[in-house]
Symmetry: D2
Subunit: 343 residues, 4 copies
């Protein structure tokens, strides 16, 4: 059993992290901090946890956090970077579910997030926590930047094509659809049921913060610049991301199904569907799996990849627990074998 702390945790990634950690056999959750909810029973805020977790939110307390083996940050962007240095220096393993340590270049961070990075010196040691490409580095890391939800789906979907150099990387298109929980639990008009329900819309077409994160990952795989158009959409449901990816094929004769199956053959959390399939977001609701189908319509020159995840699990809290398992030397699947809820 390890002692685990959470900073933040009043949002949707927070409650999902609590759900997963409450059922994790090697975790003792010892502290969860929140300025706004300090003193409140966690199960009062999230009634699904009644009877499963007996802990209250407390004021942030660095000393108590430093007694943990692992600390998760489930905070808004910009918070973790103000506290992480002390925790790292104290020897604590840190997993940040926000964006603070995802981008390697602090100038790019400032450009997209609007403030200077508070601890650029710690960016270099931060490992981007996508286990399917970075497992060994994660195992050795003390600071993991948990990937964004869109970047997880888009990168897992594109990687086999890019690594195998079978597509034109100048004209990649990622058309991604997210459930509304991706926008968080904060009070806001745009995500009211009566605004986001029975409605579908694109947003942030001029530029979304996940664009540089995805591009950084794809360029790392490609070994050079990629041209990427990324368009996110809001779809009227609670959980799930569906990424539809388009890439021009250099060699239309390549067996793409075999390529994908080979790439993810040993990846428990990435499931390549049989040829001709169309993954459903609900098939991963509450689970840490990414399910992918690869198509080549009319045997033409365009590859179409369909990738689904639960944005709160493989796109956030589940991947964070997967990273903790790797960092701690646990079985990577520990606490993450729950089956998706259908219907």
């Amino acid at each position: 059993m390890i002692r685990v702390g959470i900073v933040g945790g009043t949002g949707y990634t927070g409650v999902e992290l609590l759900r997963l950690l409450a059922g994790h056999p090697e975790v003792a959750l010892t502290i969860i901090t929140s300025r706004s909810e300090a003193g409140r029973d966690v199960a009062d805020l999230f009634p699904n946890l009644r009877g499963h977790l007996d802990i209250r939110f407390t004021q942030p307390d660095l000393d108590r956090l430093c007694e943990c083996e692992t600390v998760f940050f489930a905070t808004p962007n910009g918070t973790a970077m103000t506290m992480v240095p002390q925790l790292i220096d104290a020897g604590v393993q840190v997993i940040d579910l926000a964006a603070d340590f995802r981008l390697k270049d602090p100038e790019v961070w400032e450009q997209w997030y609007g403030t200077a990075h508070a601890c650029p010196d710690y960016l270099e040691q931060a490992v981007y926590g996508l286990p399917e490409i970075n497992r060994d580095a994660i195992r050795a890391a003390q600071l993991v930047a948990n990937p964004g939800c869109y970047p997880t789906a888009v990168q897992l979907g594109f990687l086999p094509l890019i690594e195998a150099q079978v597509v034109d990387i100048d004209g990649l298109i990622a058309d991604a659809k997210s459930a509304v929980s991706g926008a968080g639990r904060k009070a806001a008009t745009a995500t009211l049921l009566c605004e986001a329900g029975e409605n579908f819309t694109a947003y942030a077409v001029p530029g979304h913060r996940h664009l540089p994160e995805i591009r950084q990952g794809l360029e790392s795989a490609a070994g050079g610049p990629v041209g990427l158009t990324f368009v996110p959409h809001l779809t009227p449901m609670i959980r799930g991301i569906h990424a539809t990816l388009y890439a021009g094929l250099r060699d239309p004769g390549r067996d793409l199904q075999a390529l994908y199956e080979a790439r993810y053959n040993n990846e428990y959390f990435v499931d390549i569907l049989p040829a001709g399939s169309h993954p459903e977001t609900r098939s991963v609701r509450g689970s840490n799996h990414c399910r992918i189908a690869i198509h080549q319509p009319q045997q033409g020159g365009v590859a179409v990849v369909l990738a689904v995840i639960d944005n709160l699990v493989k796109g956030a809290a589940g991947q964070a627990v997967q990273n903790m398992n790797i960092m701690q030397g646990f079985d990577e699947q520990l606490g993450l074998t729950g089956i998706a809820l259908i219907p």
Copy 2:
């Protein structure tokens, strides 16, 4: 490990039973039968089970079913009663999730279900599988009639009031709201997303099949006739039942909160909320809990009970597994401690 068989299982109670049994540490699912889906991989029909269950539907085969310790029927009403006698005579424990063995009086069964009962001789030994009132009988039973979804919520909500004789039992009102999965997975116009979505309606006000089942249970608790009005409604969501119950109080001064807490003090799966609460169906989504709040508006003469369950779990598959645990002498909570999914 016990060998378990399922007859039917292509509907929503079926997939939920499969999800729960796949994660149950003492169960080996050895056979699942379906005439319509024989030969098909279970995980092909229900993609959430990919990687968790490796079994195909087969044609019904009584000999193979008789090799099981426990057989579940997740079939339409009227099917189990044609097969149960052979299984019972062969010593198999049977849990029927349909209505075939819920009503004690075969004439009442015929009146509400439209056909003569196929094995009325087996009705007497059938135990009504609501553990919170029948635990000892279930432990000794070979044939358990798993309660309906509405009857589970309504009975758990009313029982403390009736058992303590604090309400007028001539004018009970149960206004119940069900998610659409209660109507099953069969193709039907009325439950299409475009018909049942963004819509709310009552149905079966002249008489619903769960009325005699609820009445039978309440009369058993009351020790005599009760007057009950039961109105079910369809609410545009996938899972959940909310029962709002009304009863006239004989003694408005009684401490109802204490009454409910005492009644369910030792019941893990029944959670009495703090005074003043309003349970949410989502707080039990995917879990086997029933959460209840008891109100007495304006300290007047009417008790208002709010009870929520997941219709597919405590209202069907979860309760069936709970009954299996009791019948087999397992820990009653085994395989049923998953946490509800919020959001």
Copy 3:
């Protein structure tokens, strides 16, 4: 053509009022005021109005409002009562869609709304704008209090039973289910899609502000005190209220279907469905109709009334336009004959 002004109008009753007035042949909308949105194009806030309405929100301006024949208040509770006296004194007809003038007794108002009433002297002349009981008074009124959404459905449903004195008025029960738009357009966690979606819950069981309003109306019809239990629920959809009403019958032999048909025979906006029907909320989505079915389950002693309205139309903006039509001497149906949207 009359000149019409709106105070407020940035919420859901506001946009619905704008939709109806934009299509009304006798209305020229000359001013709409909002402190928060002053200067903004109405069609920018509500994109459905693009090309249909060319007007901007302006700062409140009493002089310009006084130039209107009719002014609607689509403001939060407590705003209209600070401005109405001047408008009334200036001879303007006022229709308040909020609660300021619904309760006749200012002490009851203060008890439920938490502040003293700002102009109790104007309460007496205010007419409660339910045309089906108050048409003549509305025709002569200068100040109309537009009924709440729940009170409209519950009163229209109960009135025939109470007026005909066929039920026991001591034990009335109103179990009402509202779509989420009833909670308004303000940013709030509880009505986010991810909180209110796929969820069903009761709320305000200890006491809801619409309780005294409904009771006042029913007592007026009954000519004396009534005993009423009112439980509102939130149902995961955008529009619609379904009221399920229960009353004990004094004479179970009375022909209730005939009673309801006779009561509403001349009411265009109240539609009594054929015996045995179950009205759907979607059947009135966007329309000003109330559809009602009357049941007597198993020919027993309880009457069950099912009444549906669109909470934003007959429950708010549509009824307000209906009241304006009556007050102005227009055809009562003018601008209100749009057909509900199915699916």
Copy 4:
């Protein structure tokens, strides 16, 4: 007033057509035929029509249909082509909402629809009913093939780019998202609320029947072959299509906003949003408008077009009425000025 008949009309395009025709000042609906529902009151099947339409479904009757000025086919694919010749020969104007006359080449029709075309001789005179490109031909037509829902949104979105020859037409991508009503009102498991709700999925990626229809239209505009990848998706809502279109720009410096505004300057039913906008499907719910935004992310080489329609209105019944208005010489907007429902 013209006499209008409908063949079919029991599905979603049917009820929407009925809603629009019931409110059309120049239409007398004299006959609606359905084999399955003959004898049933239309308002019994579609309760929103109660009080607005007093007509019953009758058996198909060619003689009575021939007495109409205009006959709409709201039937499954393959029905209209068996009846249209007689109607055309009798001088009736026909508008087919199904696919029977959309494709010019009967061999392509047979390839995608699986049966030989029943009246290939009538294909030549059929006019593709997209008024924004074919208004003059529609005015002179006797037989109009009403476009599919996806093809309407995708063509209106792409046309300005293709007509102005500013994009590379070899690599067009149309990523389209449809509400569930696009799948029709027939009983089917896949479109149950519990299957299609809270779920997002692509479908028919290997090839959808709307692909050849879209390609035919775009090639006509381009004057030559185009390369098009078309991926449809199912999104959990009732109405709406959102098409996200991608095209490589030949000249990234072109003012695309001006191009779109100029192209649709005189088109009442196509609304180009201000630069930087993201159209919402709900902004056209129930209305005949197509709203479009044009983007060029990061001033790069890719144009991104966002186009929304109500699939049942501009994508089906509304466009059919628009075509009728043009064919009959009515004002093109007649009966089509209703405002979309928000929320």
